[in-house]
Each structure stands twice: as structure tokens, then as C-alpha cells.
């Protein structure tokens, strides 16, 4: 419960953070809200030699309506998403999901960028971003680039983010009036989901799955079935198709496959997606 020794550097700007990451390479880790990284460090499952603290880059904390999208600064805390009137108007699913992350202490410290960059398949926000078809902006030594959420999550706790890149912005298509649902199945309110389903209906329907594989996933088989005119329960029957869910204390792979079919059906029904 006491982390290994590390150096601590506080970045005053994104450019400085990129510079520090470039300087220290793979040994450095970005520190934002700290609610994914610090527990791993305390258990000594992670031991970065340098922490680059970007937690005070307040210009990366915002939620703005911008044309057809809503732009969210990567350092926006879960609590600020939860109560954002912009999100409530245009992307209520995301506000709701942010309000389901962890407990109040976590939500007041954790950031959306930190959660996405950690790439934990058991986290709620990656699945929501997948369902919503979000786009991420990253800044590195070569400047800025963009990537679709669907291309971002690459392996267990691995993302497209380079070791010298900083995730700066999340852009989410507006989904005004579209039906949505978030089914978080867990034993205690503050726990990670055993299985979670984020669904959005409307003109850009999407379904994201929590804790159904080594990465946050899109339920592509369900989406395809819906596109082909399947009913909610017909489509939901495909929710576990091709998936290899993990085994842990709370659920066997078989139980997860069962749960995801039930939860996807409920999500589609609630969202009115079929």
C-alpha cells in the first residue's frame, strides 16, 4: 500500500507535459485524477519512475457545445460531467454514466481523459464513448491527431496513445432526443461493473459493453442485427457472439455471456432502439 519511489514533475502546459514524456519515455506516466494509476502503484503493480502531473491544467476542463458535437476537455472530472447542463441537453447518456462511476470521492477526483487513457475494460466511460461514437484528440511531439473511439482501445490496458502523447479532448456527437440506456450490473454501488451496457438509439445507434473482454467493446453483432431489422430481444441474443469474457470472483465467462444478453435486451428496450 506504499508505492515504490518515483520522481514527481508538474506540467504547466500540455506542451510541457509532452516534453516531459518525451524526455522520460516509457518510464513516465501521466497523473491526472490518480484514481486508476495510484491504486496500481500502491499495490506495486505499476512502478513508473516519473509521474508527470497534469492535474492542474485547468484549461483542459470544459464541456462545450460545438456545432454537431460536444467537446469535453480530458481533465474534466466525472462529477462535472454528471452535472453538466450541456451534456444533459445533448448527450444525457454520458452525464448519467459519469454519475455511476465509483463513489462520490472517485467522481470528484477522477477525470474522463484519465479513465479513457487507462483503457480498463471494466470502466464505464470507455463503453459509453464507444456507444456514442466519440472521437479523441491527442497531442504529441509531432502535434495533434485524432482517432475514433472504436480504434483507440487496443489491448488489455493498452490504447493507441503513444508514450509521449497526451489525450486532450473528447468529442461526442450530439444525440438530442435520442433514446439511451445504461445498465450497470454490480454488487455494490461503488464497484466496477460485472457487466455493463451503454446503448444509444436515434440516428447514430451504438452499443458499448463493459467488462466483456480484454478491451472496452462495441456490440457489433447486436448493432448489425438491429440494422437488419431485428427486435430488441432478437438482437440481444447476439450480445455475446464472438466474445471471450473474463473470469473473476464475481462471474464466470458463461455467467457474463448470460448477463450481457439480458442487459443488452433491457438497454435496447429502455432506449427504444428497436
Amino acid at each position: 500500500m506504499i508505492p515504490a519511489a518515483f520522481d514527481y514533475r508538474r506540467a504547466q502546459s500540455v506542451d510541457e507535459a509532452v516534453g516531459l514524456l518525451t524526455e522520460h519515455g516509457e518510464d513516465a506516466k501521466l497523473l491526472a485524477g490518480g484514481h486508476s494509476l495510484l491504486p496500481l502503484m500502491k499495490l506495486r503493480l505499476a512502478a513508473p519512475s516519473v509521474l508527470v502531473d497534469i492535474g492542474r491544467l485547468s484549461d483542459l476542463s470544459y464541456v462545450r457545445a460545438n456545432g454537431d458535437t460536444v467537446a469535453i476537455g480530458a481533465l474534466t472530472r466525472h462529477r462535472d460531467l454528471e452535472i453538466s447542463s450541456v451534456l444533459h441537453e445533448h448527450v444525457p447518456l454520458l452525464a448519467h454514466v459519469a454519475g455511476q462511476v465509483g463513489d462520490p470521492q472517485v467522481r470528484h477526483r477522477g477525470t474522463i481523459g484519465g479513465s479513457l487513457a487507462h483503457g480498463d475494460p471494466a470502466s464505464d466511460l470507455p463503453a459509453a464513448c464507444l456507444a456514442l461514437g466519440a472521437t479523441f484528440t491527442m497531442v504529441g511531439p509531432q502535434g495533434e491527431r485524432e482517432i475514433e473511439a472504436a480504434d483507440f482501445f487496443q489491448g488489455f490496458l493498452e490504447t493507441a496513445l503513444g508514450p509521449d502523447e497526451v489525450l486532450t479532448e473528447i468529442r461526442v456527437p450530439k444525440a438530442d432526443g435520442a433514446g439511451w440506456s445504461f445498465q450497470k450490473f454490480n454488487r455494490r454501488a461503488q464497484d466496477w461493473a460485472i457487466v455493463g451496457v451503454a446503448a444509444v438509439a436515434g440516428s447514430r445507434p451504438g452499443i458499448g459493453l463493459v467488462n466483456m473482454g480484454s478491451v472496452p467493446l462495441r456490440a457489433t453483432a447486436v448493432e448489425a442485427a438491429l440494422a437488419a431489422g431485428a427486435s430488441a430481444s432478437e438482437a440481444a441474443a447476439h450480445a455475446a457472439d464472438g466474445l471471450d469474457p473474463p473470469e473473476d470472483l464475481n462471474a464466470s465467462p458463461e455467467y457474463r455471456r448470460h448477463l450481457v444478453r439480458v442487459l443488452v435486451r433491457r438497454a435496447l428496450e429502455e432506449a427504444g432502439a428497436a
Binding site: 500500500m1 519511489a5 450490473f185 454488487r187 455494490r188 454501488a189 464497484d191 455467467y255 448470460h258
Partner: protein, 759 residues
């Protein structure tokens, strides 16, 4: 007008809510070294090599000690009958027997240095076959203590007469798992040891029983009793897991002497989940028999207790389980058998309820199974078999004599408060609709034993100072319960001195001469009684003295409790205050009464709970919606404090039914050693409790008080478990083991459906 029985706010709280408590880790500890323990990563292994060399070069490291350095004998089990060969070495010697067992200690100038240095201590383990399952342990293929020749630590087995159930029309049998749980006090273990130049040891411990810790330390270091002082600072919960000093505490004391400097430690949560004792851990085979009209005639329970690696209190829990086996029921024939075995796991201790929740869970499960078998309502079957209130004191088939009870009254209150008939109607409606959200109703009744230790008394001193204020010294050991409030209420009631002018002194063996500590729900009926009786004696002595000052006959002098003054009856104008009397007493050694209470026996609190759960039959998720609790603890001194005890107990009881379980993999690796993996309950998983008052005073003590600390834990677990089973009973389910996790409930439903399908 009496203050007793009122909702007096806790005097303790302003401090805890403002500046906060001072816990072990908050002690200043100037100049103290930090102790960090190197812990076994293997469940069962021979230590082939142990090399501290790598750690000694690390920054801040002052010393590393192993068993070879310590000249301390193994720790006695503290219970009669446990063989010496099973005593626990202070640091592991040659063999480690559970993951988390300390094998070395690293002393450093700063705490964080210890964490790094401990990683550099090299231990070479040669793995031994691991025994995790108690039945495997009983079979004895692998022995934890080969010298003892068996894994059986305590044996209370009794054969069952083959004709035991002969007169029964119906017999139902079930294996029931009362799973291993972790007490999880919010404050982990913490403490410090410091030796004076005079060779006197002062040790700060996060403990429920400073005086027995003092005796243990004195014995270990061969010191006279007055050469050891134990201080418990504020203690953040114990739940039975902080009764005795732990081997780590002994190493801290030994290290402080070896170094000539104070040494302190505070474990991490991950360490605490392995090092602090666990609770429960029984495999129960139950059989209940009776007639189809609902009369229960015979009950048998076979208990296999998991004692963990080093047997101590846990090995004796099945004794209590056996004695409390029949619970609230008048069953003509009861037979109970038990033994405890060692396994390569954390030792089992006396977690909240300790032996009685296990007994209650078993008999309540048995009553439900019996009711289901004969197709009767479970509340009705209970009603039919409860011990009638006219039969007290009541001696059970297992040999206990219950002081007083009205079990039917408690059950009726709980059924009425929950609108049991209405609940059944709602359940029927939902079943008829056939949706996924089904409702279950669980009923439990319970009786338990409190203050059941052989020495039932407790020590107290009450004194009044020349300032007119009072001090109460108590051998009870407050750690959250509200003793300061309760004891000053009791003293104020007799002395007529306002509560705020009464200081309560506890948890320091230099200030309080003796004490039994706080455990087994004993405080009020033992320690409170001592304060009550000492206060009355003190008033008598003060009255004698006041009579001298008033030049009156002592029999004519009365204490005006409103004014706090003594006067001759009928002439209040001429009076002597407490300050005057105490000042006059100065030359005679002061106004002070030392007293040890001697209650005539243990008490048997009882009650009835009704739980309502909703089970999602598609996912297996069970959610507790209501919990109605009738808990009769006799005369209530302060309802606020009693409710606090009930709330905490209910929460921990619900937790066992729905959420909590300590788990190991097949190699004895713990897989629930932090609070993310171990599903400790929180407020979000609980409804607002519906507490129903019932108070049947006990004749055993002058306060009429029984214990309340553990009742909630005992009654709620079976009610909630029963409710989960009841929610899916119409789908062919009779039993679901605890915790009723979603996966387990779903699996039971799957099995039931496939069983039906194959019929």
C-alpha cells in the same frame, strides 16, 4: 426524573466529528523506528533459506530480525486443550502455514523505507502440499503440525443414535456453509512499544482488552505485572478481532527492547485482510425431523469448524454453536457434534456473534426447510415450536439456562410491523404475474448468549473530587460503543452530579487497575453494573460523612439529586454539597469506591427479524428492500446507543447473507485481500432499518440489561438468507448458500430449471 432510558447524545461525538480521534497511527512517536513485516507469500512451505542481507543495505534500515534472532516462546493459544505443538511461533520458524504469516521484521527510520527494504529480504520457500478445505484437513492426508498427528485441534464430536429420528414423520437434511468473513474494522492494527530506562514497557495497542494484553506481555517478557503499561488510544472498531495482542505486537515490543528505541507499526489494509483474524468458517450438516402437523421433534447438527492455521478462539466457537443449537425452540431431542481443524488460512477468531450466528443460521435454515417440506408457512411453524414465555428460566436440551424470554411476543411484533400478511399477498401477486422481479420474505427468531465468559464481572472505580466533579474508572474498553456517555449517565443517576462533570477514564492499565475489556456484548451488564453499584455505595459513604458534617443521624440524611447536595430530610436549607463532602473526605483518603460487579450469570437476548428482498430472476441479483428488527436487550439505558449497536450489527449480518466472503484459491492464495475484491457492505446496499422496540428486563442484574452488540448480526443473517430463498421458492429452490451473490443465485436457478426439465 431519571436520565436512564433517555436518548442522551453521545458525549464522545464532538471530538470525533471535529478534531478527530487519536488512533494508533496518530501517536506522535518521537524517535520511533518503524516496523515492517515480511510476510509469507506461500500458504504452506518450508523456509529453506532466509537472507536479510539485501535489506540491510537499503536506505534507513536499522535492523532485520527473524525467528532465529527472537528469544520468544510460541504464543499459547489462550484456550484450554489446544496442544502445545499447535502454538503459533511469534515469527514463522522453519515452516509457514498461511499467506500473510510474518517471517521477518524490518526496522527503519521512516515508514516508506520499510516497504522497499522488506522486498529485499530473500526467503526461499520449498512448497508443501496445501490444505484449504476443512474436509480435506479432517481427512488428514497432509498435516500442518505433523508432531500432533492430526489436523483436528478441538474435538467435541458426539455420535448420533441411529434411532434419533425414528419417531419423526418427516426428516429433512441439508449441508449449510457458514462462510468465512473478515471483520474489517475501519482502523487496522496499529501500535507502538517503548521501554523506559527502568525496564518498564509501555505499549500502545489498538485493542478491545488492554488488561489481558498487559498480562500477556508481562508473561512473555517475564516481567512483574506493574512493569507493563498498556494504553489503547482511540480504537476504530474491533468486532472481536482485536481481543488479544497479535504476534506482530510482540515483535514490536521485542524490537523496541533490542534497539533501545520506541518501535511502532501500522499495517496496511492488504496486510490486515490477511493478518487480522477472520470469523465464522463452518460447514454444517443439519437434519431436522418432526410431524406433518408442524411439530418439530428432533434436531441434529454436525459442525466442522475451520480454525485457520493456528487454532485459538476459533477452535472453540463450535462449543457455543453446539450449546446454542436449539435456539428459541422447544425441541424435545437435540444432538450437536463438532470439531475444529487447522487449514492453511488465516486463523479464525471471535468475530461479532462468535459461534451464535452460526447456530442461529443453522436452526433457522432447518426450520425453513422443515416448513417447506410439510408445505407450511415458515412463520407458523416457528410459532408452533417456540419456547413459551411461561417456561423461563428455561433449560435447553443442550444444557443452557435461558434467563428470560418472550419469543412469541417478539415474532408477533416483527410480523405485525412488517405487515407479513400483506407481504405474502404482494408476493403471490408477483408470482402470478411471473415477471423477473420476484419478492422474498424471510423470518428469523433468535436467542443468543451475552456476557458468557467464566469471569462475568467487571471492575470500576467511582470517585468524587473536592471540586464536586466525579471520575469513573472502568475496566471496560470503549472502542466506539459510547461507554463515556453510558457510564456518565449511570453515575449521574446515582450521584446527582451532571454528566458533563463526570469524567470517564478507560483504556490505560496504569489508570485502571484491572479490566475484562469489551467483547461478547458484556459492557453494560458487567461494566455498567459495576459503575451503577459503585455509585450507590459511594452515595452511602458520602451520606455517612455528610451526616457528620451536618451533625445528624446518617439515616436521616438524604441526597438531593437535583441540587447535588446532602441534607436532613425535611430541612433542605441546611445542606452540604458534593464538593464540601469530598473536601472533608480528603484527610480520610478521599471519596472513592472500588468495586467489581458480579452478575449472577450470562443473559440471553432474543428477537425476531423480517427481511424483504427482491430477486431478479433473470440475473440472480438479490436486493434487500426492508429489514424489520425486534431486538430485546432488556432494559435500555440509552436508545440512541442501543440503536447504533443494532444498526451496525444488522449491516454486518446482511453483509454475510448477501455480499461478504473471504476466499482462497486451491493453493491457499487469498483472492479477497483488499476492499475492492472483498465486498464489505456500505450504506448504499442497505435500506433504512425498521427497528421495533421490545424490552424484557433480565433478573440477572440490577440494571435489567442484556447485551446488544451482537444481536443484529445474529438475527439478520438468516432472515435475509431465508428471504432470498423464499423469493425463488416457487421455482423449486429450497436452499442457497451464503453469500447469495448474483452468480450463485443464477446458478441455483439454472440447476433448478434443468432439474425440472429432466423430470
Amino acid at each position: 426524573m431519571s436520565i436512564l432510558g433517555n436518548r442522551v447524545l453521545r458525549r464522545e461525538d464532538p471530538k470525533f466529528l471535529t478534531t478527530g480521534g487519536v488512533y494508533g497511527d496518530d501517536l506522535p512517536g518521537v524517535g520511533a523506528l518503524w516496523a515492517t513485516f515480511v510476510r509469507s507469500t506461500m500458504a504452506h512451505a518450508r523456509i529453506v533459506a532466509l537472507d536479510a542481507g539485501g535489506a540491510l543495505d537499503r536506505p534507513g534500515v536499522v535492523a532485520v530480525y527473524t525467528a532465529a534472532d527472537l528469544d520468544l516462546p510460541p504464543v499459547p493459544a489462550g484456550m484450554p486443550g489446544i496442544p502445545e505443538s499447535m502454538f503459533r511461533p511469534v515469527l514463522a520458524q522453519d515452516v509457514v502455514r498461511f499467506v500473510g504469516e510474518p517471517v521477518a521484521v524490518v526496522l527503519t527510520e521512516e515508514r516508506y523505507q520499510g516497504e522497499d527494504a522488506a522486498e529485499a529480504v530473500f526467503v526461499d520457500y520449498e512448497p508443501l502440499p496445501t490444505v484449504v478445505d476443512p474436509e480435506t484437513a479432517l481427512a488428514g492426508g497432509t498435516l500442518l503440525f505433523p508432531d500432533h498427528g492430526t489436523n483436528v485441534a478441538t474435538d467435541f464430536r458426539e455420535p448420533l443414535d441411529e434411532h434419533f429420528f425414528d419417531d419423526c414423520e418427516v426428516v429433512v437434511r441439508q449441508r449449510v456453509i457458514n462462510q468465512r468473513v473478515a471483520p474489517c474494522p475501519l482502523e487496522v492494527r496499529s501500535g507502538m512499544a517503548s521501554w523506559g530506562a527502568d525496564g518498564r514497557l509501555t505499549q500502545w495497542l489498538s485493542t478491545q482488552a488492554p488488561h489481558s494484553a498487559k498480562d500477556a506481555l508481562a508473561g512473555l517478557f517475564a516481567l512483574a505485572a506493574d512493569q507493563v503499561r498498556v494504553i489503547a488510544p482511540d480504537v476504530g472498531g474491533g468486532f472481536g478481532a482485536k481481543i488479544g495482542p497479535y504476534p506482530e505486537d510482540l515483535v514490536v515490543a521485542w524490537s523496541a527492547r533490542a534497539q533501545g528505541r520506541p518501535v511502532r507499526w501500522t499495517e496496511t489494509r492488504s496486510e490486515s485482510m490477511l493478518g487480522l483474524v477472520h470469523g465464522r468458517g463452518q460447514i454444517q450438516d443439519i437434519a431436522i425431523g418432526g410431524n406433518r402437523d408442524g411439530q418439530v421433534l428432533a434436531y441434529r447438527i454436525d459442525v466442522l469448524q475451520d480454525a485457520g492455521a493456528y487454532p485459538a478462539v476459533g477452535a472453540y466457537l463450535p462449543m457455543l454453536t453446539k450449546l446454542m443449537a436449539p435456539g428459541t425452540y422447544a425441541i424435545p431431542k437435540v444432538s450437536a457434534s463438532a470439531c475444529a481443524v487447522v487449514t492453511n488460512t488465516t486463523s479464525i477468531g471471535a468475530y461479532r456473534g462468535a459461534g451464535r450466528p452460526e447456530a442461529t443460521a443453522a436452526i433457522e435454515r432447518a426450520m425453513d426447510l422443515f416448513a417447506a417440506e410439510i408445505g407450511a408457512d415458515p412463520a407458523q411453524v416457528r410459532r408452533q415450536n417456540l419456547v413459551s414465555k411461561d417456561f423461563f428460566p428455561y433449560t435447553t436440551a443442550t444444557g443452557f439456562t435461558y434467563d428470560i424470554g418472550d419469543y412469541m411476543g417478539a415474532l408477533d411484533l416483527a410480523l405485525e410491523a412488517s405487515d407479513y400478511a400483506g407481504l405474502r399477498a404482494e408476493q403471490a401477486r408477483r408470482r402470478a404475474e411471473g415477471g423477473p422481479c420476484q419478492m422474498g420474505i424471510g423470518v428469523s427468531t433468535y436467542v443468543e448468549i451475552t456476557n458468557g465468559l467464566p469471569d462475568a464481572g467487571e471492575f470500576a472505580v467511582v470517585e468524587v473530587l473536592p471540586t464536586g466533579t466525579a471520575r469513573v474508572y472502568t475496566g471496560s474498553s470503549p472502542h466506539g460503543q459510547g461507554h463515556v456517555t453510558a457510564w456518565s449517565m449511570l453515575a449521574s443517576e446515582q450521584l446527582g452530579i451532571p454528566m458533563e462533570d463526570i469524567e470517564v477514564v478507560a483504556n490505560d492499565t496504569d489508570l485502571v487497575a484491572s479490566g475484562g475489556g469489551t467483547m461478547g456484548s458484556r459492557s453494560l451488564q458487567a461494566g455498567g453494573l459495576a459503575v451503577h453499584e459503585a455509585s450507590m455505595t459511594l452515595v452511602d459513604e458520602a451520606r455517612q460523612l455528610a451526616a457528620e458534617l451536618l451533625e445528624a443521624n446518617p439515616d436521616d440524611v438524604v441526597l438531593d439529586k437535583i441540587e447535588g447536595r446532602f441534607h436532613v430530610a425535611g430541612t433542605p436549607a441546611v445542606a452540604r454539597s458534593w464538593a464540601e463532602v469530598a473536601s472533608a473526605a480528603e484527610e480520610r483518603g478521599g471519596l472513592r469506591v472500588e468495586h467489581k460487579s458480579s452478575p449472577s450469570g450470562p443473559t440471553f437476548p432474543f428477537g425476531a427479524h423480517v427481511a424483504v428482498v427482491e430477486v431478479d430472476t433473470e440475473t440472480g441479483q438479490a436486493r434487500l428492500r426492508r429489514l424489520v428488527a425486534v431486538d430485546d436487550a432488556g432494559t435500555i439505558l440509552n436508545p440512541l446507543l442501543a440503536e447504533g449497536q443494532r444498526h451496525g450489527g444488522l449491516a454486518q449480518g446482511v453483509a454475510q447473507a448477501l455480499l461478504e466472503e473471504v476466499r482462497y484459491d486451491a493453493d491457499g492464495n487469498p483472492v479477497t485481500s483488499n476492499l475492492a475484491d472483498y465486498a464489505m457492505i456500505s450504506a448504499t446496499e442497505l435500506p433504512s432499518f425498521e427497528l421495533v422496540s421490545m424490552a424484557t428486563p433480565t433478573p440477572v442484574n440490577a440494571l435489567g440489561a442484556k447485551g446488544i452488540g451482537e444481536s443484529g448480526t445474529i438475527g439478520s443473517t438468516p432472515a435475509v438468507q431465508s428471504a432470498v430463498v423464499d423469493a425463488v421458492a416457487h421455482l423449486g429452490v429450497r436452499h442457497i448458500d451464503m453469500p447469495a451473490s448474483p452468480q450463485r443465485v443464477w446458478q441455483v436457478l439454472q440447476d433448478s430449471a434443468s432439474h425440472k426439465g429432466s423430470e
